[in-house]
């Protein structure tokens, strides 16, 4: 049973990692599709929390995302299995490419293929963001909507490092929770 699950984690993560062009956020959205929508092993809110942990820790988001999901699904061995599956594809690919770099770089078909895939990557992210944002809008919480808008403006328009956004939100959440506790709401 447990071995079955580890096997499933390994192959899903390996497959996702081999196709994550365009940075850590892509693997995070693909993980959401796989583990939340397909397998139902993690619920959507929990996934957002796990992504927040991956983002606010140092290191590559793809690796952090794999660790946090692996830990949640199968503890220590989950972490080991998902890390190996995440780094194996880039490790093999970079090793091969460093020998054939010049030929690879100047091939027009490789270039076009990669260019076209960007449209697909953008579409996957758009689809996941749409689902997640709809979940948040449905809660009808004005503060959440405000945070979502402000965080987008901060990261997109002003290129503020996501670490600062995460820290500010954490501080704001702490203040809000303490205030509500004092007023006896919670």
């Amino acid at each position: 049973m447990k071995l079955q699950r580890l096997k499933k984690i390994f192959f899903s993560t390996l497959y996702l990692s081999a196709f994550t062009f365009g940075g850590g956020y892509v693997i995070v959205t693909l993980m959401k599709k796989k583990f939340v929508d397909d397998y139902g092993w993690i619920d959507e809110k929990e996934m957002l929390d796990l992504v927040a942990i991956a983002q606010s820790s140092p290191g590559a988001i793809a690796v952090n995302g794999a660790i946090v999901v692996g830990y949640k699904l199968a503890g220590f061995w989950g972490v080991v299995v998902s890390i190996i599956a995440t780094i194996l594809p880039p490790f093999v690919i970079i090793s091969v490419i460093s020998y054939f770099y010049v030929a690879f770089q100047s091939n027009i078909f490789v270039k076009l293929m990669l260019e076209g895939m960007q449209a697909g990557v953008g579409a996957v992210i758009a689809s996941v963001v749409y689902d997640m944002a709809r979940g948040i809008i449905k809660e009808k919480n004005k503060i959440s909507l405000f945070i979502m808008g402000l965080a987008f403006i901060a990261t997109y328009c002003f290129s503020i490092n996501v670490m600062y956004v995460v820290i500010s939100c954490a501080l704001f959440g702490t203040a809000q929770a303490l205030y509500q506790r004092k007023r006896g709401i919670l």
Partner: protein, 182 residues
């Protein structure tokens, strides 16, 4: 000795690169170009290009590339382990705390304000990718890419296609467009 240096350098990169993606670039450059001179600036630029064209985080790609060049296969392994070790420890610890204490009202408050921000940050990454895809660093809008994007969204939302199949389909379609001269 060289293996130990590789390990320490990439341990630093793993430990101090916050924010993901290209936020790690200045740190990697400082360690492998300026300080140890394992790569020239030209080779480093090549490394960034390779990283853009292949899957995988840039820090891991650098570890493999530099490790191989400086100390062969063993070097690549040691550098990669150094790079992910800080993540393993810190992220596992945070995940443990989260799973144990998430029912607490304080942690609930923090997570409640983080969730909308996470959605916004993923959206930002998506818009940045689409900007590159649609304009490709020029001032003209590439309509073929917009078309591919719209079709891809449709396949994902209404036909529930597998995301990786959608991405590969977009890549193949772009090659086909080129061959038939669109």
């Amino acid at each position: 000795m060289i293996l130990f240096q590789l390990f320490i350098s990439f341990l630093k990169i793993g430990l101090f690169s916050f924010g993901g993606g290209y936020a790690a670039l200045p740190l990697i450059q400082e360690q492998i170009v300026s300080f140890h001179q394992w790569l020239s600036l030209g080779e480093f630029t090549d490394l960034i290009t390779i990283s853009q064209m292949t899957p995988g985080p840039i820090a891991i790609n650098s570890a493999t590339f530099v490790g191989l060049k400086v100390a062969g296969f063993g070097g690549a392994i040691v550098a990669t382990i150094g790079c992910i070790l800080p993540s393993c420890i810190i992220v596992s610890a945070l995940a443990y705390i989260y799973l144990k204490y998430r029912k607490m009202s304080l942690l609930q408050g923090i997570l409640g304000s983080l969730r909308p921000a996470v959605v916004a940050m993923i959206a930002t990454a998506g818009v940045a990718i689409l900007n590159t895809a649609f304009f490709n660093n020029t001032a003209t809008l590439h309509l073929d890419m917009v078309f591919l994007f719209v079709v891809a969204v449709g396949l994902l939302q209404y036909k529930k296609w597998n995301p990786i199949a959608v991405m590969v389909m977009c890549g193949v379609a772009k090659v086909v467009f080129y061959m038939i001269g669109v």
